[in-house]
Every structure is written in structure tokens, then in C-alpha cells.
């Protein structure tokens, strides 16, 4: 049984009664590997949930399952009360409401930065091109890369690319943002510029699920820390509780290995 604490209780009490993302009894295998083992997770509107844990523990798969970039074998996933539809128009519409930021940025390589941020607005949200460009420039300004609007992704640094990727996701006005190890592919000096943008988003009340190895970010921005290992949610609690007083041996072991440096 996972160790649970205040945050979980708080949610059960109704503090996070407004559930935006719900996973119920979700299982997934990659061949013989059982990557998600009966996962139950609820993310409330406006909540920032940081998922941490050792590599190969199922964190990324969990994150990618929420917008069905990974299918699951069994269980139920609901976004804003609606179950994830099967492949097709409905799923595309749902994905537009779920922003995703990838480890490797994945900016469209043949389009300029500005086009990257306007594409979804025009093609999915059917916005007028000019309005989309205005919105894109606003967002690029907000993440601090306004001056790069006409360049191609390959001309930008990793940190800049990732901030553009965040702007691209925000341009869809998503209900929730998923971050799949957004800083893991970055040079150390670029990590902070991305984390700052994420901190700001968190302060503004964006609902976020963040898979990361950045413990500083988890401490300062998370409402709740979910610790995953071997496909299970081993512990979920407040950041304070988790870092100062982890309950499970697995979490203690993990923290002892990373916090010594």
C-alpha cells in the first residue's frame, strides 16, 4: 500500500474536490515489463503535482498516458470528467486541452519559432492568423524569447527551445500542462531559465503535472510530490513532508542517493 499523507487526505476532504485529471487503477505493460501497476492519481484544478523517482520507474509513461501518447492496458483516465476517447477526432480535441512539454523539446524543425506557436491556434483552434500571431508574440515575450520569433529551432539554444515549446503548449490555452522531464536534456546553465518560466506558471494557478529530477523545483513549486518506483506510486505527500520525513524505505533510499551532493 502506498504511504499517504496530508495532501491525499486534503483531497479526500474536498479541498481538491474539483478534480481535473483522474487516473483509476491504470495498468500498462511494455512486453514483459509491468511499467504502470494499478495507478490511482487525482490532480485537482490549479494543483501542481511533481512526479519524482528513479529512472525506469514509470514516471514518463504515466505522464504520456494522460494525453494518450501511450495507451494503457486497463483502468480509466478522465480529463475534466470525461474519459479519454479512442484514437480519432475526439482524442485530438482532448489533446488540444492538454499541453505537453517534452524532454527533447520537439519543436517543428521546418517552421520558425513564431510558426511553431501559431500552428495549433490556426489549425486546431481555427483562430484568425493575425490574432494567433499577436497571441504567439505575447507568449514568446512572456517566456523571454520574443527576439527569436523569426528564427528556426535549430538556431536556438536548448533553453530557448524549451521555452518556445512551453509557449507553443500555452498557445492552445490548455486546462492542464504536462511536463515530461523538461530540463533533463539541457545544459546546466540553461535549466534555471526554464524552471523560472514553470515557477511563474505554477504561481499563476496553472494545473501542472511535472516529471522531473529537479528537487529544488519540487520543493518550491509543488503542492504535492508523487514518488514513483517500479511502476507504483510508493508515496504521495507534501514536498516538506517528503523531503524532510519520507516514510517509505524506497523513498529514503532514493533521497539518500541524490541529496548527498
Amino acid at each position: 500500500m502506498p504511504v499517504r499523507d496530508d495532501a491525499k487526505d486534503a483531497r479526500d476532504d474536498g479541498r481538491y474536490a474539483d478534480a481535473l485529471v483522474v487516473l483509476r487503477n491504470v495498468d500498462k505493460h511494455f512486453g514483459a515489463l509491468h511499467v504502470l501497476r494499478s495507478i490511482d492519481l487525482t490532480v485537482g484544478r490549479g494543483e501542481v503535482v511533481v512526479v519524482i523517482g528513479p529512472s525506469g520507474g514509470g514516471k514518463s509513461t504515466l505522464c504520456r498516458a494522460i494525453n494518450r501518447l501511450e495507451t494503457v492496458d486497463s483502468g480509466e483516465i478522465l480529463i475534466d470528467g470525461r474519459p479519454l476517447p479512442a484514437e480519432g477526432r475526439e482524442l485530438a480535441a482532448l489533446r488540444a486541452d492538454v499541453g505537453m512539454v517534452f524532454q527533447s523539446f520537439n519543436l517543428f524543425a521546418h517552421k520558425t519559432v513564431l510558426e511553431n506557436v501559431t500552428l495549433g491556434q490556426v489549425k486546431v483552434r481555427k483562430k484568425d492568423k493575425r490574432a494567433a500571431e499577436r497571441r504567439a508574440r505575447e507568449l514568446l515575450d512572456r517566456v523571454g524569447v520574443a527576439s527569436q520569433a523569426d528564427k528556426y529551432p535549430a538556431q536556438l539554444s536548448g533553453g530557448q527551445q524549451q521555452r518556445v515549446a512551453i509557449a507553443r503548449a500555452l498557445a492552445m490555452e490548455p486546462k492542464v500542462m504536462l511536463f515530461d522531464e523538461p530540463t533533463s536534456a539541457l545544459d546546466p546553465e540553461m535549466i534555471n531559465e526554464v524552471l523560472e518560466v514553470m515557477q511563474q506558471l505554477a504561481r499563476e494557478g496553472m494545473t501542472m503535472v511535472v516529471v522531473t529530477h529537479e528537487m529544488g523545483f519540487a520543493r518550491s513549486a509543488a503542492h504535492r510530490v508523487v514518488f514513483m518506483a517500479d511502476g507504483r506510486i510508493v508515496e504521495e505527500t507534501t514536498p516538506d513532508q517528503f523531503f524532510s520525513n519520507p516514510r517509505s524505505d524506497r523513498a529514503k533510499d532514493f533521497l539518500s542517493k541524490i541529496l548527498h551532493h
Binding site: N67, L69, E87, R89, A92, A93, L94, R95, A96, D97, V98, G99, M100, F102, S104, N106, L107, F108, A109, H110, L119, G120, K123, V124, Y152, A154, Q155, A165, R168, A169, M172
Partner: protein
């Protein structure tokens, strides 16, 4: 030395070759792109059709396909593709045959290009809510085309030379004229050299131009 050329419409014959090439190139690019889209589509029936088409068509000699358009489509099934006179009918049949054949190679070149587009590009496109056709049209194919300009240039050069097969159903392009001249004139080597040179004049600039384009449009990652 070139007296024997009088009375032959050399330029006219090469003009027909150019027309065959251009129409067939456009047609096979469109049809080949559709086939490639089918081969990567999530619908099993479409994938099956695309795969079967490519594997059957590219393994049949072009001569057989061209002869079939004339003997099978026109003479047996009376399909004349909206034309009245034999010259136009044969020209259109030849274009149809060339498109049918070349599209299989365009499809495969394009499919190898699709494989060079990183999976992350598709995931990001799906993640902002684009549908499968949109992902293909807006993200995958534009990047795939840019990476296969070189291979497509090869297909185009092969197509230019393959138009000579249209001579088998009487289309008055360069190879038919060459055959006629070889029969009538005693200048075998010179005639061959002239026609070889004519084809090089068509294909060499194509290759050089597309080689330049290929570098120009390459996607930087």
C-alpha cells in the same frame, strides 16, 4: 556531316519527350504521395493496398505496363481517356502507364523520407491536437519531402529516360524518331550520340538543379 538530319523533326520529338516527362512527373508525384500516405496510415486496409500496389507495380517491367495500356485498356476495354485521335490517345495512355509505374518509386522514396522524421515531431504535433491527416500534411510530409529531394531527382531522371518506352505504343517521342533514323540513315554511331546527348541535356541540369535545391531546403535539426 550533319546533312542527314534534314527532314527530321529532332526538336519536335524531344519536345514530346519533355511533355511525357512533365505530365508523368506531376502525376506520379501526386499519386506517389497518396500511396505513401496510405502506407503509413493507421487504417489497415489502406496500408494493405499501398503495400500491395508498390510490390506488384514496381516488379512489372515498364514495357509490359505501357503495352497493357494500349492493348488492354484501349483496344480491349475501349478506354480512350477522353481523346479522339490516335496520337493523343497513345500519348495519354503512355502518361498513365508512366504514372502508374513511377508512383511506386516516388512512394518508396517518400516513405524513406518519412522514416527520417523523428517520432518526437509526430508526438508534438499530436499533442497540440492535430488530426492524423493534419500531422501528415503539415509536419511529416513537408519534412519528408525536404529530405528526399536527392532520391526524387533520381526517380525523375529515370522517368525521363523511361519515356522512351512510350515508343512501343507509337508515341512520337525521341526514341521513336531515333529508330526511324537508324533505319533510314547510314550514321548509326552519330545518331546514337546525338540522342544520348539530347537526353543528357534534359537530365543533367535536372540533377544539378535538384542537388542544389536539396541542400537549400534541408531541415536543420
Amino acid at each position: 556531316m550533319f546533312d542527314f538530319l534534314t527532314g527530321y523533326d529532332l526538336l519536335g520529338a524531344f519536345w514530346v519527350t519533355v511533355q511525357l516527362t512533365v505530365y508523368s512527373a506531376i502525376g506520379s508525384l501526386v499519386w506517389g504521395t497518396l500511396l505513401a500516405a496510405m502506407r503509413v496510415s493507421p487504417v489497415p486496409l489502406m496500408r494493405g493496398f499501398g503495400t500491395a500496389y508498390v510490390n506488384i507495380v514496381r516488379n512489372i517491367p515498364l514495357t509490359v505496363i505501357i503495352v497493357f495500356t494500349s492493348l488492354g485498356l484501349f483496344q480491349t476495354l475501349s478506354i480512350s481517356l477522353g481523346a479522339k485521335d490516335f496520337t493523343t490517345i497513345n500519348f495519354r495512355l503512355a502518361v498513365l502507364g508512366l504514372i502508374t509505374y513511377t508512383a511506386a518509386f516516388v512512394c518508396e522514396a517518400l516513405r524513406s523520407g518519412i522514416n527520417t522524421v523523428p517520432a518526437g515531431q509526430v508526438e508534438a504535433a499530436r499533442a497540440i491536437g492535430l488530426s492524423f491527416p493534419q500531422v501528415l500534411r503539415l509536419i511529416v510530409l513537408p519534412q519528408a519531402f525536404r529530405s528526399v529531394v536527392g532520391p526524387l531527382a533520381n526517380v525523375l531522371i529515370a522517368l525521363t529516360k523511361n519515356t522512351t518506352v512510350a515508343a512501343t505504343i507509337g508515341v512520337a517521342e525521341a526514341a521513336l524518331l531515333m529508330r526511324e533514323m537508324i533505319e533510314n540513315e547510314a550514321q548509326l554511331i552519330l545518331i546514337s550520340v546525338i540522342f544520348a546527348f539530347g537526353f543528357i541535356c534534359l537530365t543533367l541540369p535536372t540533377g544539378l538543379l535538384l542537388g542544389w535545391v536539396s541542400k537549400k531546403v534541408a531541415v536543420r535539426r
